[in-house]
């Protein structure tokens, strides 16, 4: 599994991509990634296109991120979910708290 992040050159989008397994083992990498959002108040995109597995601790990490970032970012979107991952997010009512596509 691996986690990468980047801020687009215009400072308007901050993307975090998690590959493979989004679980407790990436807690450190995940938290330190969003410490780099910067001052430009970007939109955060959590790109799950290559996330095959996630567990409830991943849900916890997403909520912690939301709490921690607050209004230092414009929005948080969970993007490119595979069908099964989307199902898990919907069952967890995450579509009420995040923009999901």
């Amino acid at each position: 599994m691996s986690l990468t992040y980047n801020l687009s050159p215009d400072g308007k989008a901050f993307t975090i991509q998690i590959k493979g397994k989004f679980d407790f083992n990436v807690v450190q990498a995940f938290r330190s990634s969003y410490e780099n959002v910067g001052e430009s108040k970007p939109k955060v995109v959590v790109d799950l296109r290559e996330t095959e597995y996630m567990d409830s601790s991943a849900l916890g990490m997403l909520l912690n991120m939301q709490k921690s970032l607050g209004d230092t970012v414009e929005s948080i979107r969970i993007a490119n979910c595979r069908t099964q991952i989307k199902k898990i997010l919907q069952i967890s009512r995450f579509d009420k708290k995040f923009e999901i596509d």
Binding site: N6, P9, D10, F24, K43, L59, N64, N80, T83, K87
Partner: protein, 551 residues
């Protein structure tokens, strides 16, 4: 060297025959024009000595017919005639003769003339031979081009085609296009578009499109991000292309809602984002160097993310448009291109191209020209994979992990890898992972490592818990966990039973739902929603999760 002697006088014929044979030439004899034509058909003739006044067919009538038969290969015809008036001699040359000599003729002059014309004949033969070789090679090249063209067409056949989503105009400078436009849908919905421009044009530029397209399609199928795509394509081209060749490219992904695009742009002219009414919304600059230039460790995968609205258009094009030159030597230029979208008018591809053609006037196209419009849309939704039929066989699988194995392996993932091999179960692996990892982590964290999950509260609590867990795990010397999976084809159920060697817990104390809004309670409530049933048994150190796989 064979000479045809045409004369009705036997004396002349014999005289010429001896003279020519003496000089080492083969001689063929004809007594009039008709015979001469016949002889020409039956022998390979290199030169003709032709009398003018003869019965049946005279020399003036014969010469043009012989020339016609000789076709494009030079056949020297020397008239030997007793006529010496200006008009007759002039006519000799007009009907196709190359030279003339008066009778009685001078031997020395005749052989000198024959040698001179023989040299020209030899040159003509050589030229004809070269021409044949040239034609042969030309045919060979045409054949090769047809084959390559066929391969190209097939290689690019996988392109997603829907003019409403991606409309384009491609005009190669020569037979093969050094520009490339690749389009593929994303399995999670949305679309990828790659527009590339290889150095130069023609076949050498086009050849790179083959590996590029193959890799692009396979990455699109996996739904990779444009940054990862760019990195992979860069590595491939770096390895394949010579140092002075590379590929400027824009790689774009539009998401399934049509509300956002991400772009990796290297070495391409500015990309335009145009509103539905055709006016310019934003100009996006190239951020990187072209593909195939930088080593993997120098390569940057940073992408631009843009918000779009359905109906917005992204204009992708290669420098062939803005570098089009008119008769006055002026370039179409980025400024003209930009003002095309600033003016309040129809900005369709057709209009753009007709404006460009009008600008160029009589001047020839000097590069490959490509332009593509991607219209943002939400109509490209995730593809529904055909579901595999479920296995009809009942399976029982089981693994026993010792303390050492709990420390160093990932039993959940390995168990799932095996379970996913059962026909029909692979589509459900993400949900199965969630179910199994929840109960496994409970067993490991609380049963074996004896951690208290109330430590998890808050962001810092999460991290503290993580470190405590790491410490406890590395200090672990005793304990084991058994994972059993049972697949029941009747009712399509998968049943996981996890048993740990811990002390169990007081079920009554945790069965209330007050913990649901806290991070650590989320797992259990999610489990309850996804599973058909969850059952603790023994002293609480064995849990059985039943999941119904929906067809």
């Amino acid at each position: 060297m064979r000479v045809l002697v045409v004369d009705d006088q036997e004396l002349n014929r014999t005289l010429l025959q001896f003279l020519l044979q003496d000089e080492g030439y083969d001689v063929v004899i004809a007594t009039n024009g008709e015979e001469a034509l016949e002889c020409f058909d039956n022998n390979e003739i290199d030169l003709v000595l032709l009398d003018v006044v003869m019965p049946v067919m005279d020399g003036f009538a014969t010469a043009p017919l012989l020339k016609e038969k000789a076709g494009e290969l030079y056949l020297p015809i020397i008239f030997i005639t007793a006529l010496d008036d200006q008009a007759s001699l002039k006519r000799c040359l007009e009907v196709g003769g190359d030279d003339f000599l008066n009778k009685p003729f001078d031997k020395v002059i005749l052989s000198a003339k024959i040698r001179a014309h023989a040299r020209i004949r030899a040159l003509a033969l050589k030229t004809l031979e070269q021409k044949k070789q040239l034609e042969y090679h030309q045919n060979q090249i045409n054949r090769e081009h047809e084959i390559v063209d066929h391969v190209f067409k097939n290689a690019l056949m996988d392109n997603y085609q829907d003019k409403e989503v991606v409309d384009f105009y491609l005009s190669p400078h020569s037979m093969f296009n050094g520009d490339v436009l690749l389009i593929a849908t994303n399995p999670v919905g949305g679309i990828y578009v790659l527009m590339g421009d290889f150095t130069g044009h023609g076949l050498s530029a086009a050849i790179g499109a083959l590996p590029l397209s193959k890799t692009f399609y396979s990455m699109a199928k996996k739904g990779l991000s444009v940054g990862d795509m760019a990195a992979e394509l860069n590595n491939q081209l770096l390895q394949l292309l010579p140092d002075d060749m590379f590929c400027a490219a824009t790689i774009l992904e539009m998401n399934s809602s049509g509300k956002s695009i991400s772009l990796w742009i290297g070495g391409m002219p500015d990309t335009f984002l145009v509103k539905p009414d055709g006016t310019l919304k934003k100009i996006i600059n190239s951020q990187h160097m072209a593909l195939g230039v930088l080593e993997a460790d120098e390569f940057e995968t940073t992408v631009m993310n843009m918000e779009t609205n359905p109906g917005d258009r992204v204009v992708l094009y290669t420098d062939g448009i803005i570098e089009s030159v008119n008769m006055e030597g002026e370039m179409y230029s980025e400024t003209r291109f930009e003002s095309f979208y600033l003016a309040d008018k129809d900005t369709s591809i057709e209009t753009l191209i007709s404006e460009l053609v009008a600008f160029r006037g009589e001047a020839e196209q000097n590069d490959d020209i490509s332009v593509a419009y991607l219209t943002c849309t939400n109509k490209l939704q995730a593809m529904v994979e055909p579901e595999q039929p479920f296995s009809k066989l009942p399976f029982h699988l089981r693994l026993d992990a010792s303390a050492e194995e709990l420390k160093n392996t990932d039993p959940v993932v390995e168990m799932l890898d095996v379970v996913s091999q059962i026909c029909g179960l692979s589509d459900h692996r993400s949900v199965m992972f969630l179910l199994l990892s929840e109960v496994y982590n409970n067993a490991l964290d609380h049963g074996i490592l004896k951690l208290d999950s109330s430590d998890k509260d808050g962001d810092d609590g999460f991290m503290d818990y993580y470190f405590k867990r790491q410490d406890a795990l590395s200090a672990l010397t005793q304990g084991d966990i058994t994972i059993a999976a049972e697949y029941q084809p009747n009712g399509n159920r998968i049943i996981f039973t996890i048993t740990d060697s811990g002390d169990g817990f007081d079920m009554a104390a945790t069965s209330d739902n007050t913990v649901n809004d806290k991070e650590h309670g989320r797992g259990l409530s999610l489990l309850a929603e996804l599973a058909e049933s969850i059952e603790y048994s023994d002293k609480g150190n064995e849990v059985k999760v039943v999941y119904v796989l929906e067809a």
